[in-house]
């Protein structure tokens, strides 16, 4: 392994591999440093399943067109306008070609998975899921001659005046070393697995967060870059967070700990009180707000309460629901105040107005006279046994990042562009995602900016 590369890529997920492949195809020698062991390579990519790309016509696997304009409107809506329009529109435009480019790198698509019909038009699913996608990218990268090191923990970056010179590396066996490269692509993700860092913004509540990805997403590269003069972007408290089963492991529970039963019941906190409209919008659109909602509740815990009439209405779950023949019995098992839970459910049931239930549309099943209301799909909870899932905030990734331009080139705190440092993926997602989320966007950001960063990094190295 030669000691100086044209392009050094730090990170091992979708963005990193797209950058590595694109730099290698651009004629550069490339080294990828993945901090995790081989099995856990790829950060959050190993848990993903699809990517949101604009396309003007239906494809073999996409049921209809999804124009750039519609993508932009969706982004505008979920972020409430907190996005960089120039960068976001550029990404959306580039996403069209990614649909083909990523296939050229060995990734295969399949139609939307069972239970995800609502994404069939907008999102392309990876055959075999995110780890299969990663495996394909690694095979391609290795075939092209990209060097990859696992368990490669970068301990320091040597940066002078916005210019990357070298990375210091701690290898498990061979010890400390320094790797020089002409360009750097930082694609090492966010800091979601770094509980201490999360605590800076969330306080002790962060102890109750579950992290959906690997324990290796500690944000150490992000921190080094920000400390060494790269301009920060994004709100440090913003992240993609969903409500996941409280029984999930602390790290790497992935997608299977999620719940999509919220719209079929009510959600109460540990005081057995409802706190948000469970029927606000079609589930996938509101999927990603519930992590923050639960994070704001006492002890960061909540309970989805429903009854036996709806158990087959949603995907089967990894953990079985907790059941009680009476509401009081269920409350006992959840360690909630039985009287309080009975009161909440009785009041909710009394407020339910008759309607025609249809979970595929915004139906007319509503409550009246309670706060918060349930504005769709409101049905009485009355068919024993009564069931519940305990949920906690599950943090997917954080939005604090490094500011970049359309070339994926990092911007320094003084406003100047870096000479040779590029960023892609979650480490710069905050440029596009000020807040909110729409399914599959993380992978779009990774592939689009990864490809750009690799290309630009190679171009710089060869000049």
């Amino acid at each position: 392994m030669s000691s100086k590369y044209d392009v050094l890529v730090i990170g091992g997920g979708n963005a990193a591999l797209c950058a590595a492949i694109s730099a290698r195809r651009g004629g550069a020698s490339v080294l990828v440093l993945e901090g995790a062991p081989k099995f856990y390579r790829g950060g959050n990519t190993r848990h993903t399943r699809n990517m949101r790309c604009a396309h003007d016509a239906a494809t073999e696997i996409l049921t209809g067109p999804y124009t750039e304009e519609e993508f932009w409107e969706d982004l505008l809506r979920v972020t409430g306008g907190q996005t960089d329009e120039v960068l976001a529109r550029h990404m959306i435009r580039e996403s069209k070609d990614i649909l083909n480019w990523i296939v050229e790198q060995g990734v295969r698509w399949q139609p939307s998975l069972g239970g995800t019909l609502s994404l069939g038009r907008t999102n392309s699913f990876f055959l075999g899921g995110g780890r299969a996608m990663l495996n394909a990218l690694y095979l391609t990268a290795e075939r092209l001659g990209v060097d990859v090191e696992y368990d490669a923990e970068v301990t320091d970056l040597v940066i002078e005046d916005g210019m990357f010179l070298a990375a210091r590396l701690k290898r498990p066996i061979r010890g400390e070393t320094e790797i020089r490269a002409t360009s750097l692509v930082a694609a090492a993700g966010g800091f979601e697995a770094n509980i201490e860092w999360l605590k800076q913004y969330w306080g002790e509540a962060a102890d109750n967060f579950l992290i959906r990805g690997t324990p290796y997403n500690r944000g150490s590269i992000l921190k080094m870059l920000l400390d060494k003069g790269v301009q920060e972007v994004g709100d440090p408290t913003q992240c993609h967070a969903v409500a996941i089963d409280a029984r999930a492991p602390k790290f790497d529970g992935g997608i299977i700990t999620r719940h999509d039963s919220v719209v079929f019941g009510i959600v109460v906190n540990k005081q057995a009180q409802r706190f948000y409209d469970e029927g606000e919008d079609i589930w996938p659109k509101r999927y990603a707000i519930w992590g923050r909602l639960v994070a704001a509740q006492p002890d960061q815990i909540a309970y989805i309460i429903f009854d036996s009439s709806v158990v087959t209405s949603f995907m089967p779950t990894l953990f079985p629901p907790i059941a009680g023949q009476t509401i009081a019995e269920l409350a006992g098992k959840l360690e909630l105040d039985p009287a309080a839970l009975e009161k909440t459910i009785t009041e909710f049931n009394a407020a339910v107005r008759p309607g025609t239930f249809d979970h595929t549309i915004l139906d007319d099943c509503v409550t009246e006279g309670i706060s918060p209301p349930k504005t769709h799909w409101a049905r009485k909870i009355e068919a024993a046994p009564y069931l519940a899932y305990p949920v906690r905030p599950g943090i997917t990734f954080t939005y604090l990042g490094t500011r970049v331009n359309k070339e994926a080139r990092m911007q320094m705190a003084d406003g100047r562009p870096s000479a040779n440092m590029f960023a892609a993926g979650e480490i710069m997602a905050g440029n596009v995602l000020g807040k909110g989320y729409a399914a599959g966007m993380g992978m779009t950001i990774g592939s689009v900016f990864g490809r750009i960063a690799g290309r630009e990094a190679a171009k710089h190295a060869r000049n």
Binding site: L127, G130, N135, L139, G254, M315, L318
Partner: protein, 366 residues
């Protein structure tokens, strides 16, 4: 809770997989799983036999070991599959011993039968055994045709009876409604799926065997083995028709249909099993059910020996080696027949039944 530890584990995995579903494009197992929310013993045995062991779901799974969820579908279903062969075997008492000692039993059976035929011939006339025989009826100098036909018909019919009883039990267990009959369309679909090994390709990427690269060639070797077997079976059937309908006795000239079919099939039965055996030797232990090693290798060995002795017989049939080779060949075929209902052969029968069931489910769901 299920009857066995492996079915409990298969149930746990299907619960994990059913809440993920990333693998649904890889094969038939996961779409079939998605049609269920809970899993009976019959459901799990159905899914286990639907699995072709392509290995893709293991390589693609974010929860495979060393992850704490410890999801290893290929290995778990391989063990469940082997146990299902024992569970449905008829009569049940013969199944367990075979699973453990398949190779030894097959070889002992083949050699015993060969010794019996040799002894039978030698008792009659030693010079016949090592003599050079040519022309029609040469084989029957060793053993009269009717004796040979009676012996092998009995072995074959026994195998068919035992297989029918076994697959009936399997079908009753995996079917809803119980005892429902398969329809023609589903059977036709299953013939196509089995004939091209549609689900032995990792959803299009390829299969995995020794590592995480989709470079596996088992599909190719399986085709050689399976179609080789069918060609040999066809050769025997044509020869039987020649014998009884046209009164033409074996051996036949090299250009005649039974010999052409047998030669092509024999080549497949030599190369195919060797390829499959070498693939098994190289297979990642993480994917392998090491307990059914004897059963798997026993079947591969019997197919290989059938092919090898048959081809040797063809080449050397006009020499003094014909007698002993014919005895060996007949011994191998006999052992193949009588071990069929208890050995790896049944994988094809159960997998075919599972594919019929799957085709039925797809039609019902559509």
């Amino acid at each position: 809770m299920h009857g066995t530890r492996i079915l409990d584990e298969a149930d746990r995995l299907m619960t994990v997989c059913n809440s993920c579903r990333y693998c649904e494009g890889l094969c038939a197992v996961f779409p079939a799983m998605e049609m269920r929310r809970s899993f009976s013993d019959g459901d799990l045995n159905y899914l286990a036999n639907l699995c072709h062991s392509c290995g893709a779901c293991y390589v693609d799974c974010q929860f495979s070991p060393p992850h704490e969820f410890n999801v290893n579908v290929p290995k778990t279903l391989a063990i469940a599959r082997a146990e299902s062969y024992a569970a449905y075997a008829w009569p049940g008492a013969l199944s367990g011993a075979f699973a453990r000692n398949g190779l030894v039993i097959s070889i002992v059976a083949a050699l015993s039968m060969a010794a019996f035929i040799l002894g039978f011939a030698a008792l009659n006339d030693r010079s016949v055994l090592f003599g050079v025989h040519t022309g029609p009826g040469a084989f029957y100098k060793l053993m009269p045709h009717n004796a040979m036909a009676a012996l092998f018909s009995a072995a074959f019919l026994y195998a068919v009876l035992a297989l029918v009883m076994s697959v009936r039990a399997f079908w009753r267990d995996i079917g809803t409604p119980i005892g429902g009959r398969p329809d023609g369309g589903s059977i036709f679909q299953a013939i196509r799926d089995a004939g091209e090994l549609r689900y032995l390709h990792g959803g299009g990427v390829g299969c995995y065997n020794e590592d995480d690269k989709p470079t596996d060639r088992r599909k190719f070797y399986h085709h050689l083995t399976f179609y080789g077997f069918l060609l040999c079976f066809a050769a025997t059937s044509v020869a039987t028709l020649y014998h009884y309908l046209l009164a033409r006795e074996a051996p036949y000239p090299w250009w005649d249909l039974p010999v052409v079919l047998g030669t092509l099939g024999g080549i497949g039965l030599i190369i195919g099993p060797v390829g499959l055996f070498l693939a098994k030797m190289k297979r990642d232990p993480a994917l392998l059910d090491e307990f059914s090693y004897g059963m798997d290798v026993g079947f591969i060995a019997m197919l290989f020996l059938t092919g090898l002795t048959g081809m040797a017989l063809l080449v050397l049939r006009e020499t003094a080696a014909m007698g002993p080779l014919l005895a060996l060949h007949l011994g191998a075929v006999f052992a193949l027949f009588i071990t069929m209902p208890y050995g790896k052969f049944v994988h094809g029968i159960y997998r075919f039944a599972a594919l019929v069931r799957y085709a039925q489910e797809r039609r019902t769901a559509a």
